[in-house]
Amino acid sequence: MRYLPKSQSERQEMLDAVGAKSIEALFETIPAKYRLREALKLPGPLSEMEIIDYFKARAEETSRGYTSFLGAGVYQHVRSVVTDALVQRGEFLTSYTPYQAEISQGTLQAIFEFQTLMAQLTGQEVANASMYDGSTALTESVLMAERLTQRHRVLVARTVHPEYRQVLATYAKHLGIEVEEFGFTASGQIDLASIRADALAESAAVVVQSPNFFGVLEALGPVAEAAHAQGALLINCITEPLSLGVVRPPEAADIVALEAQSFGVPSSYGGPYVGVIATRDKFVRQMPGRLAGETTDAAGRRGFCLTLATREQHIRREKATSNICTNEALYALVVTIHLCLLGKEGLRELAAQNLAKARFAQEAMKAIPGVTLPFSGKIFNEFVVEFPRPMKHINERLLAEKIIGPLALDRYYPEQNNRGLLCVTEVTPRAEIERLAAAIRKIVAA
């Protein structure tokens, strides 16, 4: 087999050296009755060419040729071939977690740069080396807030990504953390008034998202004040970090849980993505996830190493801040390279383009008789549209036009059954936005 660097004669040679009569002898500690007698029923073995054929065939069974207006936490953005060329270097791709600093300085310095970029982007003081994704980053932020405040309740806005809230619920359930949700106003922003002070006083944190799931920007100042006044922390979740190129960073938040997929990571049907937690220096020892720090060697040379490991499971076991071990390092590297390419100017320009495209799409939708934009809040690159018909009706017809339409909100908000979440980015051509508008016009008119 091409992956196995041994010939049959070498196998025999090694068996002899080991002093085993046969390869079976090496497995004798496994009771005979549990050792497989026949070969597993698996497809293959396949040659490289057959493997490629199999996956090319699968790739033909997906959405090629369709135009998609989906966002909702996963965004299509420009990616440079430069990034992919670099992350495919074996020295990055096939290395392990950099526990052995002297032969892992490449990965370690890149992590240090990632942490810095994430801190700069979010306006926070420190960021970690990555979490699984945004949903688990948010969940871990809540557990972190619980440890910091020793309070076992959390207030979560219904404008936070519904799937993120589902993940939080799964984790919180058996940790005795009580999750209470609060609503939103006609602007599509959180209904701060609906939060009772006494609830705040018992809560570890208030969790909001900006831009929120409806694409609307949240004003963090007031909610931060309210929370802090009652000793609660503010956690801000960000699923579209590109917005930070033009939108003020969440300095008011105590913990930021971010999904960085927008920065060069392919949508890849759901993963791998890159979660990040950023926070204030004073909270760092309760932050989960790996951290790279700067130090020196005996000769005074600058170097980097993983640090504050006493927070982690491999040292603290059941007392660890989290059970996370393997993270999303390679994609954190993708994000790092992508952001170095974008740079200060590119980030801003790209964000501004998204802003302009979204505005154009909003105008195009508003111009369609019977179609409205229910929320009045400011948006970045996605927004909610209300149709005179159920989304199912609209989207089935759009799909026939090779358009993947707005995400039906009733999937998560049963009461909003005529509403869809529409996303456009710099890669959505104007012509396609116009084609979408024309198609919807036809559908609602029919």
């Binding site: 597993l40 790739a59 998609s68 526990y99 058996h174 740079g343 400011k378």
Partner: protein, 522 residues
């Protein structure tokens, strides 16, 4: 001949596998930044431009990101190319990290993962236009169930630790449905750190059970442990010392007889695939580390995938979504009333799962050969080192062999010193961190990807270091000597952590400063 001596220093006669070579220094990207440089350009905007400041207003508008780098494309290429050359990698040589299964990452897997139509798909798009992705997931599920002998699977968990949590939540949901979730999870003291950490999140207590003198679970006093409070035993098999748990089937029976379940941490499945199936010897729930046994790249720490395999009784509780197939039509099933819910947004690390399927298809039933070679390599190395390194448990080794530094300690040389010295010999160190039942462990897992030649060079290096530990311990204790930086001060790093670059900190940043990695800062 100055150059001769210079090299002699680093290429000790004993060191055959590696030398030293000129290596580029490189500062932090922020130190290279110059206002006005561009690393990327975009197609012109095809809709009317919008000024962010006016569009967003003072409340939301941002100036620009303080301190963000400004560099050109070629500088980005050079920066990360230079950094990469400071890393060791499987592509460069043997990476014998015990418990990590650092095997060859097939290149074709990278190719197929990037195909347009797969890498480009959105997780929320209609199943109708996701059939290709869903079929990949479904095909992988079938393969994993066949290999493990289990009944149902969830591909949601994105790492081993998340697989553990998921499995524990399934156990909890099942026991709750039976009326009592119970209180404790039993964990052998040889377990990986994520096991106890996951137990806590699942709302259980950890009860550690001591391994016996042979590093195995003592079946007799194990009986006492399994009280009405015990929800399950969480066991790694083969254990982290690379030994197969002889009585696993009997252990399963004991647990089942008391209404408890058996969880198997499948991180070491590389010792079993094609040889025996956990489902056959009594395991109720387990996870696999696809980034170990199934060759997906570690990428400097991740990503991974930790799918969970269960027996029928646990199937109703699997997290959503579950991939289903009905006469050729594939779908994501969310309608599962008894589900423990979601453990992550969307449908798991598709890109990792896809690679694991590519790996499985490459071997087919031949995966057994990979397992055999992995175990053969471990035993071959053990055989050639057991006379110079202490073997705390001498039961037959499976995919890895665990020594201790007991003998070298006499000369003041510990496992970390030996590990660091291995670097000078051109190898990545083995695992030193655990298992806790071995003090000063040398946890060596070669995997099937190493040739006899590479194993022989490793054996030679280890024997040579053992000799150095006696004749020149100082040399070993100050290793590595061949690397661009020496041992780093991790204590100082933790005492006053510097976790990000700050302009202040590097005010005097000049072209020279860029090379700070090589010039003594003191």
């Amino acid at each position: 001949m100055k150059d001769k001596s210079a090299r002699a220093e680093t290429e000790a006669p004993g060191i055959k596998k590696a030398g030293r070579h000129v290596s580029q220094n490189e500062g932090l990207i922020f130190e290279k930044s110059v206002t006005g440089k561009r690393g990327i350009e975009f197609p012109p905007l095809d809709v009317p431009a919008l000024d962010p400041a006016t569009a967003l207003g003072a409340e939301f508008a941002r100036g620009g990101v303080e301190g963000f780098p400004e560099v050109s494309e070629i500088e980005v290429i050079r920066h990360f190319t230079r950094l990469s050359t400071w890393n060791y990698a499987i592509d460069l040589g043997m990476y014998p990290l015990g418990s990590c299964t650092m095997k060859y990452n097939p290149r074709v897997n990278e190719f197929v993962a990037r195909l347009e139509g797969l890498a480009t798909e959105h997780p929320l798009q209609p199943d109708k236009v996701s059939q290709g992705c869903l079929r990949i997931l479904h095909d992988l599920q079938k393969c994993l169930l066949e290999i493990t002998g289990m009944d149902a699977a969830s591909l949601e968990p994105v790492a081993g630790a998340q697989g553990e949590l998921t499995g524990l939540l399934l156990i909890r949901a099942y026991l709750e449905s039976k009326g009592n979730a119970r209180r404790k999870i039993l964990i052998p003291d040889s377990a990986h750190g994520t096991n106890p950490a996951s137990v806590i999140i699942a709302g259980y207590e950890v009860e550690n059970i001591k391994s016996n003198a042979r590093g195995q679970i003592d079946i007799e006093n194990f009986r006492q442990f399994v009280t009405e409070d015990v929800a399950a035993l969480m066991i790694t098999n083969p254990s982290t010392i690379g030994v197969y748990e002889e009585n696993i089937a009997e252990i399963a029976e004991i647990l089942h007889s008391r209404g408890a379940l058996l969880y198997m941490d499948g991180a070491n499945m590389n010792a079993l695939a094609g040889i025996t199936r956990p489902g056959d010897f009594g395991v109720d729930v387990m996870h696999l580390n696809l980034h170990k046994t199934f060759s997906t790249p570690h990428g400097g720490g991740g990503p991974g995938a930790g799918p969970v395999m269960v027996k029928k009784i646990l199937e109703p509780f699997l997290p959503v979504p579950v991939v289903t197939e009905k006469n050729g039509e594939f779908a994501l099933d969310f309608n599962r009333p008894k589900s423990i819910g979601r453990v992550r947004a969307y449908c798991g690390n598709f890109g990792v799962l896809l690679r694991a399927l590519a790996y499985t298809l490459a071997y087919g039933p031949g995966i057994r050969q990979a397992t055999e070679d992995a175990v053969l390599n471990a035993n071959y190395i053990r055989k050639h080192l057991e006379d110079v390194y202490d073997l705390p448990y001498n039961l037959p080794s499976m995919h890895e062999v665990v020594f201790s530094d007991a003998r070298q300690k006499r000369h003041g040389v510990n496992t970390m010193d030996i590990a660091k010295r291995l670097i000078d010999y051109g190898f990545h160190p083995y695992t030193t961190a655990f298992p806790l039942i071995v003090s000063g462990a040398l946890m060596i897992e070669p995997t099937e990807s190493e040739s006899k030649e590479e194993c022989d060079l490793f054996i030679e290096a280890m024997r040579s270091i053992a000799a150095e530990a006696e004749t020149n311990p100082e040399l070993v204790k100050t290793a590595p000597h061949a690397t661009r930086v020496g041992r780093l001060d991790e204590v100082a790093a933790a005492r006053k952590p510097i976790l990000r670059w700050k302009p202040r900190q590097h005010l005097d940043s000049t072209p020279h400063k860029v090379t700070a990695t090589a010039v003594p800062t003191a």
